[in-house]
């Protein structure tokens, strides 16, 4: 159902066009925002309601082998949160039941994102070897447009090219890799560290430590992949999970990584987990201020926060070494899966508790980053779902940002043991405005991702629109949109999910020099267990996003 539609008289927040709470109509036809529609078009009375573009999640874990391994590990969570099929309108595809928890099943993931007013989602870590599985799971994740980032930072073939000084060929290779996997952007996780974990070396990786060869270093990996993203004109910069996640004092690593890429486009992800100073006792302290000062001063850097939210979570990352440490310290169940020639994967269920000093610090550091950031266009919202908490906690996070009284009440309940020197504890009074929320949850991520038709409501934009009923409790307002329009289809009506169209696939297919295929095929024949011809994903549902 994508009929002409006029959203009448809503209070519109469209920061990409400088519209900050103006009453206007939004017209929609054929899945796009248009200048006008005929008077016979269906009308939604949005008077008194808040109108924003659909939400864009820049960093989540929703589809693929590692996510499915987490689902499989969590029967108790699923049993506690059964998800009945929604009651969709007549003529819709038969709705599907599922299970929730921190790692919901595919259909439930799509329904719940849409029910939250989010219409675009990226899975942040897919081993290209497993790309087919991610695509298949996205195929059964309805409504949201989605894509994923391709893990490349610990890739054996890339390391060989870097070792030989073949930067040009490295660029060609990652172009091939992106197309072969049907990915949207390049992802680096703990450059060097994942491979060293697989080699049984558990030392921290310094930016210039030789990784088996003096030419292969975390710095060289970051430089190579960020340069490639620029030269290939990928819509999104290389998406970087730095070394030393979670470690006391890792702020130095994070800042050094940012400096290493100085002047290049680079996206640093879940920076909350990478912004810890080290106190005199060796324990973690907030490093948020130093991080944000650097980001504020460097326009080429973008970031998402990776806020932790109190409650259950599932830690799920390619950074296998981190998960081993979490398993050892928590005693909870643990999955590790090493993935040949490419990456790793670790999973440990987790819970963030207010009275736990580290969790309290993490919660505070995330909020500090949000509240100190000068430019919301470059520091956007994420919880690294499900690592810092479920995406279902986004409304609560928005309330924390918008309501300082509520935030202060929450702060009183957390363990203060590690909060010495934190800006939040010293009193940060900033409150996000609706405009700023619209930036950090849709306009900003869309711009960072290079999605020209998303995150705004100008003529030609994808007709992804979320309409909220104002509420003094911001959390309640953002948790239950009154209407959600996805690609021109009214998916949420009067707060109920009524339609579940197929979501689109966002991927790139940059050109590459076919001459690389010969040596690459040889590498596959010698070391891979999947035939070169069987590796690429052949058919995808939508056309690639242009890279020029």
């Amino acid at each position: 159902m994508s009929e002409p539609l006029r959203i009448v008289g809503g209070t519109v927040y469209d920061p990409a066009h400088g519209i900050d709470g103006e009453v206007r109509d939004i017209c929609i036809d054929a899945g796009k925002v248009v200048a006008d529609v005929s008077t016979s078009a269906r009308r939604i009375d949005a008077r008194g309601l808040v109108v924003m573009p659909g939400g864009v999640d820049i960093h989540s874990h929703v589809a693929g082998s590692s996510v499915n391994a987490a689902r499989r590990l969590l029967p108790e969570e699923h049993a506690a949160d059964p998800a009945p099929a929604p009651s969709l309108a007549d003529g819709e595809p038969w709705p599907r039941s599922g299970a929730g928890g921190t790692v919901p099943t595919t259909f439930t993931t799509g329904y719940r994102y849409a029910g939250l007013g989010y219409t675009t989602v990226f899975d942040a870590a897919v081993a290209p070897l497993h790309a087919r599985t991610s695509h298949a799971e996205l195929d059964e994740t309805p409504i949201v447009d989605a894509g994923f980032y391709v893990l490349a930072g610990n890739d054996a073939y890339l390391w060989q090219l870097i070792d030989r000084g073949e930067r040009e060929r490295a660029r060609q290779y990652v172009a091939w890799l992106l197309g072969a996997a049907g990915g949207y952007a390049l992802k680096v996780v703990n450059p060097g560290g994942v491979e060293l974990w697989k080699r049984g070396l558990r030392d921290r990786v310094g930016l210039d430590d030789a990784l088996g060869s003096t030419r292969v270093t975390a710095r060289a990996i970051l430089e190579t992949l960020c340069a490639a993203a620029d030269e290939l004109r990928l819509p999104h910069a290389t998406h970087i999970h730095c070394n030393d996640l979670g470690v006391a004092g890792n702020i130095a690593t994070t800042l050094a990584s940012m400096q290493a890429l100085s002047g290049r486009r680079a996206h640093f992800t879940h920076v909350q987990f990478h912004a810890y100073a080290s106190g005199p006792d060796g324990r973690r302290r907030s490093g948020a201020r130093a991080l944000v000062e650097h980001i504020n001063a460097h326009d080429s850097i973008t970031a998402d926060v990776g806020q932790v939210m109190f409650g259950p979570a599932t830690t799920l990352t390619a950074d296998g070494a981190v998960e081993y440490l979490l398993y050892k310290s928590s005693g909870r169940k643990w999955v590790n899966s090493d993935i040949e020639l490419e990456t790793g994967c670790g999973i440990v269920p987790h819970a963030y508790r207010e009275k736990q000093s580290v969790a309290a610090l993490q919660w505070v550091v995330g909020l500090e980053i949000f509240l100190l950031a000068a430019d919301p266009w470059r520091v956007v919202l994420s919880t690294d779902h499900p690592n810092g908490g479920s995406f279902l906690a986004y409304p609560e996070l928005m309330r924390l940002l918008m309501d300082r009284t509520y935030r202060a009440d929450c702060l009183k309940r957390v363990n203060p043991a590690l909060l010495g020197g934190s800006a939040l504890a010293d009193g940060l009074g900033r409150e996000y405005t609706l405009r700023e929320i619209a930036i950090v949850t849709r306009a900003g991520p869309a711009r960072i991702l290079g999605l020209r038709d998303k995150g705004h409501l100008g003529v030609g934009a994808d007709a992804d629109v979320t309409i909220y009923t104002p509420n003094a409790d911001w959390s309640a307002m953002f948790a239950t949109p009154r209407y959600v329009v996805k690609g021109g289809t009214l998916v949420v009506e009067e707060g109920h999910l009524r339609r579940a169209p197929r979501g689109g696939r966002l991927h790139v297919r940059p050109d590459y020099d076919r001459a690389i295929e010969g040596p690459l095929r040889e590498f596959f024949d010698r070391h891979a267990t999947v035939a070169f011809d069987n590796y690429p994903v052949r058919t995808l549902p939508d056309r690639p996003v242009p890279t020029s």
């Binding site: 590990l73 009945p84 169940k333 090493d338 267990t529």
Partner: protein
Amino acid sequence: MVKFSSATCLGCGCACDDITVTVRENRIVGAARACAMGAAWFGDGLAPARVTVDGGDASLAEALSAAARLLNHATRPLVFLAPDVSMEAQRIAVAVADTCRASLDNVSSATVARSILAGQEIGRATATLGEVRNRADILLFWDVDPARYPRFAERYAPDPIGLYLADGRRVISVGVGGAAWSPADVTVRISPDDEVVTLTALAALLTDPGCVQGDGNAWAHARMLSDILLSGRYVVAVADAEPGSGAPDSSGPTGRADALWRLSHALNHRTRGAVVTLRAGGNRTGAEAAMTSAAGYPMAVDYSQGVPRYRPHDGTAGALLASGIVDAALVVGDARLVDHGVVADLANVPCVVLGPAASGGPLARSRVVIDTARAGVHEDGTALRMDDVPLPLRALVTGPPPARDLLTTLAALVATAPRRSVGAGERS
């Protein structure tokens, strides 16, 4: 004559994807590089294409309508995923089960339930087979019969020279109650009664060499093995998850699956390592994954209350059929590869069998029988290797209609049928 290179074989869980299949006049006349099991799996491509309802020939439309009627009128339907269908088809079968509030299961509940449950309880440290190939400097074959996985040695380990293994690797073979993998650098035979204790002791020693130790053969073997394993940088224990395939429960003695996953963790405290479990063919892990992604559980799902519920103890196909509660079943896949007890019980239930060579299989006398393509021979799609690596399947010859298409039609018929009213007492 047409040659297909890089065809994927589902003869066992190794899912070798380097087979060159030669086709002449729509018959498979060669499967180069395939082992004998693989060659038998590809066959000649000739497949029955019968469709019957109540024993008489019927059109596809009639058969699918009859199938939908049967499922729609049942109070306790069962959807069962048998081997040799693509993940695409499996996903549609899951949709059918969801839509008609059926129980949903696959072959794993009869063969590896304990391994699945143990993995859900404690987790597991594992690796894809390419890590075994490239990195495993010590390989511990734990009671693996090479005849069941003929090309494992050649494709994965120990034969290939690994990318990170300039110094080669050592192979340890443990036989439980008999001979096992050979040749090996070290061979150990243990008694079946000692298997779980040895695995448990080994995990304890790998975690803490100074742990309190017991006497007897099991601990002696464990000490010897532990010393060898701790000399490795990346140690992979390879064990058959279905060592007694065909028996009612073939996952081995109680405690074995749990001990294997604990061993997998223990391999990571003082060295690095993984346990890799071997599986039989036909895309079994694909069925588990297709169920997990949409229903949240890899086996034994009960949709009767409108949401997926996990019933790994009393809701497996075997348990439900034995209880006599199932009043209609949809079997998707090759029934010849299903646990004999489950098949025997299915024969007593009004049943729709939709799969390759259904008319020649053990459920050929079922209410509705539809021969379909075999995924990877007549039908394209995706399958998972036993380590969850996805591989493409190709249609090599034309044959009966694709299971995916038939299931799509069936799903639409089930979805559009008037819904039964479900009373709480009726279905609990």
